[in-house]
């Protein structure tokens, strides 16, 4: 996740990925703190290409466009193993993700908006996954479905299995499970839709934020190549940067009359004391020093949903009044909690079947007894 601390004007999704990470070896926070970039899979998705029209559109129009986009997700199932069966179950009548606007009839990746990688990705299959992902038109989304696609799963030590599809392509939502229930995919789709709804609008939606230390410690950017910005967005960004550096001492207040697209408008700012629910966001200003808490820790997987503690000094009251920290608008990655599946119907049916079988047995024994009685 590329969150530029201090540079409030850069859209968190758009500019940062293309700007700060030249590629998979960028290193990011790990390099800046003297650590070794281990090439671990990185949490996050790079800039998304929406086109200049979307970038220039006012915020209400973006909301409408996002609303339309999130309810017509033509999905392309990259089914590789047993998780694909769960995907199919989710598309069938009982779970029926078509009611969420997910349409599983994309003729191919060129017509798809969403790719669900469900199953074990082998090293030999990984180039095919990447190629088909590259064939999808922008904006495109990826759900990594199941433990194998997330991190290798039970084949974590195999000589032939890719340890997570996010080593090859950027992933938007990870769905844990081995295999996950279809309900888990439904929740993953809903989370993705929340994320789509928040795109480009500067709001966080209802997404839970991934701690910045987690994102920053793993290199600060996606491992796959970041998506390029559109030329319009790049021109607007550079123009806004010129404006800011020359004439604007306060980034929170753009010049009146300056052409500032909503995408690159200054983000909402909030006093530190007002965002107690997001300590990680408040800690961005001093992440360089302390944010690499996860550097020395064990490799993080999406299965255990790690929470990284970020040490944050308590601001003095005077500081709390003056220091303003940009609220990072969008977390590109979501770690899903496990879903609790109600089971009482199952056991009730099971008991009923057992009682029925027992009654049949009793009846048969009773009849048998009568036969014996007749003979004697």
């Amino acid at each position: 996740m590329a969150v530029n601390e201090g540079k409030a004007l850069v859209p968190a999704g758009a500019g940062a990925g293309a700007e700060t990470h030249g590629g998979r070896s960028a290193g990011g926070a790990a390099a800046s703190t003297g650590g070794i970039a281990l090439g671990m899979p990185l949490v996050g998705a790079p800039a998304r290409g929406f086109g200049t029209g979307f970038d220039l559109a006012p915020k209400p129009m973006k909301v409408v466009l996002n609303w339309g986009r999130k309810y017509s997700l033509w999905v392309f199932n990259f089914g590789l193993a047993c998780c694909a069966i769960e995907f199919i179950a989710a598309s069938m009548a009982r779970h029926d993700f078509i009611r969420l606007g997910v349409i599983p009839f994309a003729p191919g990746p060129r017509q798809a908006d969403l790719m669900v990688v469900s199953g074990t990705v082998s090293d030999k299959m990984a180039p095919a996954v990447k190629r088909l992902y590259e064939q999808m038109p922008e904006p495109k989304y990826v759900i990594s479905f199941g433990a194998c696609a997330n991190c290798g799963g039970p084949y974590w030590d195999s000589y032939a299995v890719t340890k997570g599809i996010d080593q090859v392509i950027p992933v938007d939502v990870y769905v844990p499970g081995c295999p996950p229930r279809p309900e888990a995919l439904l929740q993953g789709i809903i989370r993705l839709q929340e994320k789509i709804a928040a795109e480009g609008t500067g709001s966080t939606g209802s997404l839970r934020r991934v701690p910045d230390a987690l994102a920053g410690a793993e290199g600060g950017g996606p491992r796959a190549e970041p998506r390029a910005m559109t030329s319009g967005a790049r021109a607007l960004k550079s123009r806004w940067q010129r404006l800011r550096t020359s004439a604007q001492p306060d980034p929170a207040a753009p010049a009146p009359g300056a052409i500032v697209p909503a995408e690159t408008a200054p983000l909402e700012t909030a006093p530190v004391a007002a965002v107690p629910v997001e300590p990680a966001a408040a800690a961005t200003t001093q992440r360089k020093g302390t944010g690499s808490a996860a550097d020395s820790g064990p490799p993080l997987t999406t299965l255990d949903a790690p929470t990284v503690e970020v040490s944050r000094p308590e601001p003095s009251p005077a500081e709390a009044l003056t220091v303003e920290v940009p609220v990072v608008p969008l977390s590109p990655t979501e770690v899903l909690p496990k879903i609790k599946v109600p089971r009482r119907h199952y056991f009730r049916e099971l008991r009923r079947a057992r009682d029925h079988g027992l009654s049949l047995f009793d009846k048969a024994a009773h009849d048998q007894q009568w036969e014996y009685d007749d003979e004697s």
Partner: protein
């Protein structure tokens, strides 16, 4: 199959393989199947005999086993798709085994006898490094391009297991449940997949293994 049927099967296989291999084949019953252990130089002769004389024209599978300093065991199963007089009945088959030395893992290809052995030998070649001489196209089948090494050999090191310890408790006494208790005295397990030095030490010689020839 009843014991009589198995005995008849083994006798038929022995009758066919005895003259074909010059008496070098060791034919016996093994878990209700006919097993024929032949030296590697009689491998093609044995396959030809079971195909032509016994009617085992269906090549089922071929693979290898890494038996450390004893070499690589090669096993192939062939069976008969139809009844034939004086030979195998439909569904009956022969398990053929041989063993090639570790330092010279070569075997003449079975594709001259069974064309279906082609991909099996390619897979055995890439997984174990056993070279099938005379194979028309001996290149990797399943592994990605540029893969180095033969992953099913015992000395192949799984890098993931080297850099990350095995999750969970491998032994009694290691889990949280057993914390504080005395671990029962039993043989400690090796970390799976990480070949320690013990793995490549020579095993104690078994009786009969030193006589040379093929040992099952």
């Amino acid at each position: 199959m009843s014991p009589e049927v198995v005995r008849t099967l083994v006798e038929a296989v022995a009758r066919a393989l005895g003259p074909a291999t010059g008496g070098a084949a060791d034919v016996r019953e093994n878990f209700g199947q006919a097993l024929a252990v032949v030296p590697p130089d009689q491998w093609i002769n044995a396959l030809t005999a079971v195909r032509d004389e016994l009617g085992a024209t269906f090549f089922d599978w071929l693979t290898a086993v890494d038996e450390l300093e004893e070499g690589y065991g090669i096993a192939a199963f062939v069976c008969a798709p139809a009844d034939r007089d004086g030979a195998l009945r439909r569904g009956q088959g022969v398990l053929l085994k041989t063993k090639v030395p570790r330092e010279r893992a070569e075997l003449p290809t079975a594709t001259t006898v069974y064309r279906g052995a082609n991909w099996h030998e390619r897979e055995t070649f890439e997984m174990f490094g056993v070279v099938f001489t005379g194979h028309p196209d001996l290149k990797p089948l399943l592994l990605p391009d540029g893969f180095e090494g033969h992953p099913l050999r015992k000395e192949f090191v799984l890098a993931s297991r080297v850099v990350k310890s095995w999750p969970g408790a491998k032994e009694p006494g290691e889990s949280d449940h057993d914390r504080g208790r005395a671990a029962p005295g039993r043989r400690r397990m090796l970390p799976p997949g990480v070949p320690g030095e013990e793995w490549l030490k020579p095993l104690p010689q078994r009786p009969g293994a030193a006589e040379g020839g093929v040992e099952h």
